[in-house]
Symmetry: none
Subunit: 194 residues, 4 copies
DNA sequence: CATGAATGAGTCTTCATTCAT
DNA sequence: CATGAATGAAGACTCATTCAT
């Protein structure tokens, strides 16, 4: 109600919608979060949401567009590097940072895979994952299947970290490093043909 | 249409509801599957579902009760064994089989974590996972964090396999073995304090 | 509220929905009639309407299916007769009766052509009209254009009658006969090649 | 995109709104055309529409005011002439031209009668029609009812022409003449007391 | 063992309209 | 002359659930 609050808010409504939406989507899931809820928490009407976004899905998509850009850049960068172990290590390290920075988004994805599956955005995210896998994994048919599994496991473990990181005990940063270390280990073994 | 079809169905309606429900839940997600849909596919009325189950959640719960019993048994068995590497290897092997047999259920869980979170059933499943982790992981505070991560990664990778197993190429059974091998590897390293 | 009222209503809800819907559609137009309104007038909930009909359009369609059957029969009958003036006269006469019996429906159509245009039902009704025209009109390319216009005019005038019949003065039955007479006159002239 | 395009548009926005609105109203119906749609097609904002017109209905009304003036003039002129057949013929002829020139408007009216009914504009248009009818029809109580019907039919047929004129085959101008001829015929018969 | 009929609460979405700038 | 931002009311539709029969 404070006019200062109202004043401050001018012009950043779009951003605020995205923030609140992501928060709620991550907390309760996409389907179980209603636009009414988002609107209420923002103290605007549902119709205001529709001024800024065409559909509910559009809100989600816009969040992804912003937050997954770093991944796209990483993929491009990775594609240009020589496929050395060093490169892979760097990719995982950067990926770990990206994951941490956009943690709620990745937690959301982790927990709403069923929803993601029939969103256009979900499909395109899956594509990105596959591209990352390819870079880590060389598409060499002689690569043993276990090596492929290790690469996939590395990525998957990092994602899963989000889920476990919320489980209380232990310093989050320390955890993150442990996860990264294991992931690098896995990819290293794969790189060495194991 | 054949009266034999109808005849055969007598009495096993409860089971049929569970089967169809799991199929649809796994395919489309829990929230996006309506009771109307389930009823239609079974060619009964929605009210009939309520004759067999008290609520929608109850259907899901009943499916879990049936399909997660093997895990409970595994946990009990695991708890009684000496915590040797051999035991852990056996646990992972049996777990892999359980996962394969009840693949749709685990695919469902994997993709509907947000939903699981606020179902009683979900909570209790998570507990089971933690118990499994404990067995793999000794609760020794001197265990390095990376070892804990490796154990978690092993379990998580096996679950994730469901997701990747659907991706076409390669013999599923071969894939399953590769995943199991990597998981055992991870736990072995953890067991050795890495 | 009277339990008699409720009792009586059992089982005929579907019919009652159609009746009230047609009444309101004719009175206010299709778009301007909301399901809430229909439900309220029936003292049931909106959801009840959806138990009996899949969509709003479905309600309208079902009304048409019932009320336009006589026209289909007329077309079939007309198609089997020799294309004499006598036949045409009979068609117009029967058509006039059909129009009178289902007056609200035809009034609705007359006044909601824009709506009809993008309903499947509308399209199929238009087809029926064209078939009637063909019967009245022989598809002979040598027929002068004015003759074609006269046939169309005959049909159109009868439809328009609905609109004018509501205008107060004069006995409705007398009006109807006058309209029919003019229509027959028009078709007669057309039949004679004028 | 060209700044010339923008430049040219200066000042005639009001007119452009009317044009686009009529186009869309005729194409989709009044209720199914939203101000958003109109604004989008004009590449202005909805608020801009409100700068030029007070309400949605106001847009429609303004279109009518412009396009029905010729009818008013025709009525005035007709009222001053002697009620000879010659006059009536002239009225129909001019009316046919008016109809052709403002075809989209009349098509709109034809197809949106339900909407017209509760617009002030609609009422006043109906009045005009009745005035025209009176002129064609003398208000003589001894006039047989069929004569009245014929006059009404003449007018109605001309309106209906719009609807049929869109149906492809045949030269539109030729059709128009045929329709006019039939209309004159009808009024002639009425004039002769038939 | 099951259905037919219905409900209440809620979903996403669209609309005409307003007003400060 | 026009826009950006928002609102209140309403719309069609869906869902889990209930209960008399």
């Amino acid at each position: 109600m404070s006019s200062t609050g109202r004043q401050r808010r001018r012009g950043d409504t779009r951003q605020r919608i995205q923030d609140v939406a992501l928060e709620l989507f991550a907390e309760q899931g996409y389907e179980k979060t209603s636009l009414r809820e988002i609107a209420e928490r923002l103290e605007v009407t549902k119709a205001a949401l529709y001024y800024h976004f065409k559909t509910k899905e559009d809100i989600l998509t816009s969040i992804f567009d912003d937050l997954t850009r770093p991944i796209d850049e990483l993929i491009v960068w990775g594609g240009e590097q020589p496929r050395t172990l060093e490169t892979k290590r760097a990719i995982l390290t950067r990926y770990s940072e990206i994951l941490t920075e956009a943690a709620p988004l990745f937690r959301f994805m982790q927990e709403n895979q069923a929803t993601m599956r029939d969103l256009k955005t979900g499909e395109s995210f899956k594509d990105r994952m596959l591209q990352l896998l390819e870079i880590l994994n060389h598409d060499d048919p002689s690569t043993p299947m276990t090596a492929q599994v290790r690469c996939f496991s590395a990525l998957f473990t990092m994602h899963g970290g989000m889920f476990v990181l919320k489980g209380a005990d232990g310093d989050p940063e320390e955890k993150r490093k442990a996860i990264l270390e294991v992931a690098i280990d896995l990819v290293t073994q794969a790189h060495n043909g194991v």
